[in-house]
């Protein structure tokens, strides 16, 4: 199986869906002529032309709102946010208009739009550019949220997201863009709402999404090697819809849970998951659920400190050992 980068996997998903459906349009800042701020859309302009690959001005509320309006008429815009952090200037368009228009019209309208781009810290760009709004988006019924950790998942999930008739927020990670993974050449789809057990284990379940999965896998290896602890890593892949069954299955097996995310802890995704586990698997737990999140402050710039603020393998390892003590 060929090894391709996470970035290429997204590009391939876009190209395949652009070829499949003439209603799919890719738009965003620098996506066409500049080949993408993170080179995700490189070469797409050449292949699909300026009607399908559209450079926008720096005007997120304008072009996201425009994409939502166009989607109501059956266009299927895939809109790139150069950083998901910039969603805040389009908050009303995304979380009032896209999220609510179906409901407020009594189901007469649907909004098949995908908004995608990187949502991560860890690149020393300061608090304004390091938001991880998957919890905020998932808090809005009407919206779906996807956070892939690998190239394979990114491709299969993005293709499903583009075919989905509801608005899907697709959150990538600049640090993962260059990571190479095995991705088959033949077409495949990954359904939204299906978690993936990235590592099988028996002593402890780690539930994570996005890059936290990669950090958790690194911690799991070290726990196995140095502490003889067998860790199962459940990658959520999709935040909403949420695959509760895969989480619960793992909890019932290991009886101990560590929740890891790059989100801030307060009202983070893992707050919901912790609630769900105690409700549905209370008797299966041998220890209180523990969480590792970003340290609860705006994203710090200072490079060595930002690495500490995020849930890195060392912080995950320490929490796992405490939990198992």
């Amino acid at each position: 199986m060929p090894l391709i980068t996470y970035r290429e996997a997204i590009r391939h998903a876009l190209a395949e869906e652009l070829s499949r459906d003439p209603n799919v349009v890719v738009m965003g800042e620098e996506v066409a002529q500049f080949n993408g701020a993170y080179k995700v859309t490189e070469g797409l302009l050449e292949k699909f032309g300026p009607n399908r690959i559209v450079d926008t001005p720096i005007s997120e509320a304008g072009f996201i709102g425009m994409g939502i309006g166009a989607s109501m008429l059956g266009v299927r815009p895939v809109i790139e946010l150069m950083f998901w952090s910039f969603y805040s200037v389009a908050f009303d368009q995304i979380l009032n208009n896209a999220a609510n228009v179906r409901y407020m019209s009594g189901g007469l309208i649907n909004c098949p739009i995908v908004i995608r781009g990187p949502a991560n810290g860890g690149t020393n760009v300061g608090a304004t550019h390091s938001h991880t709004p998957e919890n905020i988006c998932a808090n809005h019924p009407g919206i779906k949220v996807v956070c892939p950790a690998t190239a394979y998942d990114a491709k299969g999930l993005l293709k499903s997201a583009i075919r989905d008739n509801d608005p899907v927020m697709f959150m990538e990670n600049t640090i993962l863009y260059g990571d190479k993974w095995e991705v088959p050449e033949e077409e495949y789809l990954i359904p939204l709402g299906k978690a993936d057990v990235k590592r099988v284990g028996k002593d402890l379940t780690i539930v994570a999404h996005g890059r936290a999965v990669i950090s958790s896998l690194a911690a799991a290896q070290q726990l196995e090697r140095e502490h003889d602890i067998s860790v199962e890593v459940v990658d959520l892949r999709t935040i909403r819809p949420l695959d509760e069954e895969t989480i619960l299955e793992s909890v019932r097996k290991t009886h101990r849970v560590l929740l890891v995310e790059e989100n801030k802890p307060f009202c983070g995704v893992d707050a919901q998951i912790a609630y769900m586990i105690q409700e549905k698997a209370f008797d299966d737990l041998d220890a209180p659920i523990k969480r590792v999140s970003a340290i609860d402050a705006p994203a710090i710039y200072s490079p060595p400190m930002e690495a500490e603020q995020l849930p890195n393998p060392q912080r995950i390892l320490k929490a796992a050992i405490e939990l198992l003590r």
Partner: protein
């Protein structure tokens, strides 16, 4: 009144000019009566809804369009198959203008399952995509980028049509509106941004909220613009027809400011004695009421008679009363209904591809 407004008022005094414009001259007797009747229906519908609101049958806000009818009815009367409309929360006139019947509109305000949005939207959120009517939006200016998107969709699909995106004078200072202006001009989108200037953004007059003149801001985006008097439906139609033709034929966007007036508060729950005088309201009602103005024109043209005026009015009142009865007798949505119409996929289980849990506790 500013010099500019006086000039426009003078212009509208000579209504014959607009009646001779081809778009109006080509109307037959029935079509003219229909325009008049639709305005009267909007008025009577809203008066009936006001009574229901005062009787606490309708919750939330009620933003009445009374005084502005010629704008929505004039604009919507020009719609072709590929023309689309989107507006803000003062949306009853546009809904009736595109042809939505009164029953589901009244029922929507009563919060009933038979409402046009199944009781999920309310007064501010009327929709009917089958009539190219895309709402009914609650956030000031938030619908304007969507209007640009409708135009984008029309153009992308290679259709000859235009989107009319309505907003109030208060919306012109919202950033999203300006972003949508820029995109429309930059990409030649067939959209007309219609500013219905009723003089007040809630309780703040134009003078206290907006620098400069409203439509002229289009010049900064190298976009066509126009102004017109919204009390004369012929003038509204003549102006909008020009702009719609530009949009449909040449994909040229425009901004138009249509000067109008509302008789009621921003929402009927708001007192409106803090920012304007009763005399001002009465003055408009006496001299520029869009229904009275058109009634006189059609009377002079020999189209309307006293008997016809009376029967149109009686029928409109009866229709509004019947809509209120329909709303009253309709059932409320159920608790189960709360969770429907959230996701397309959940409403179409036969096409479901996702897994996992989508609703939470």
């Amino acid at each position: 009144m500013s010099k500019k407004q006086s000039a426009i008022a003078d212009k509208s005094a000579s209504t014959t000019d607009f009646s001779k414009a081809p778009i109006n001259a080509s109307l037959n007797r029935e079509q003219k009566i229909d325009l008049y009747r639709t305005m009267v229906r909007v008025r009577r519908f809203e008066e009936r809804s006001l009574r229901a609101y005062q009787a606490k049958k309708i919750g939330g806000f009620l933003h009445l369009y009374i005084g502005q009818e010629a704008v929505a009815i004039g604009c919507c009367s020009l719609m072709g198959k590929n023309d689309h409309v989107i507006t803000a929360y003062r949306d009853h006139g546009h809904a009736i203008g595109v042809g939505m019947p009164m029953n589901p509109l009244m029922a929507e305000m009563y919060g009933k399952a038979t409402g046009c949005s199944k009781g999920k939207g309310g007064s501010m959120h009327f929709f009917d995509p089958s009539r190219n009517y895309w709402g009914g939006h609650g956030i000031v200016g938030g619908q304007i980028p969507l209007g640009a998107g409708l135009a984008y969709g029309i153009k992308y699909k290679g259709l000859k049509g235009a989107a009319m995106a309505f907003m109030g004078d208060g919306a012109v200072n919202q950033g999203a509106v300006h972003e949508a202006y820029n995109l429309a001009s930059l990409w030649n989108l067939p959209v007309i941004y219609v500013i219905e200037n009723n003089g007040y953004s809630m309780g703040t007059s134009q003078q206290r909220s907006s620098a400069g003149s409203l439509a002229k801001r289009a010049e900064g985006y190298d976009m066509n613009w126009a102004e017109c008097d919204g009390s004369n439906i012929y003038e509204v139609r003549e102006t909008m027809n020009r702009l719609l033709t530009l949009a449909r034929e040449q994909c040229k966007p425009s901004v138009v400011e249509i000067k109008t007036y509302r008789y009621r508060g921003h929402s009927v729950a708001d007192p409106d004695n803090t920012y304007r005088s009763k005399t001002e309201i009465e003055e408009y009602r006496k001299t520029k009421d869009p229904i009275s103005v058109f009634q006189k024109i059609l009377y002079d043209e020999g189209v309307l008679t006293d008997a016809l005026i009376e029967s149109i009015d009686t029928e409109a009142k009866a229709e509004a009363d019947a809509a209120a009865d329909f709303a009253e007798q309709s059932p409320y949505p159920t608790v189960e209904d709360i969770s429907k119409d959230v996701y397309w996929e959940e409403d179409h289980p036969e096409h479901k591809t996702s897994q996992g849990r989508i609703f939470f506790e």
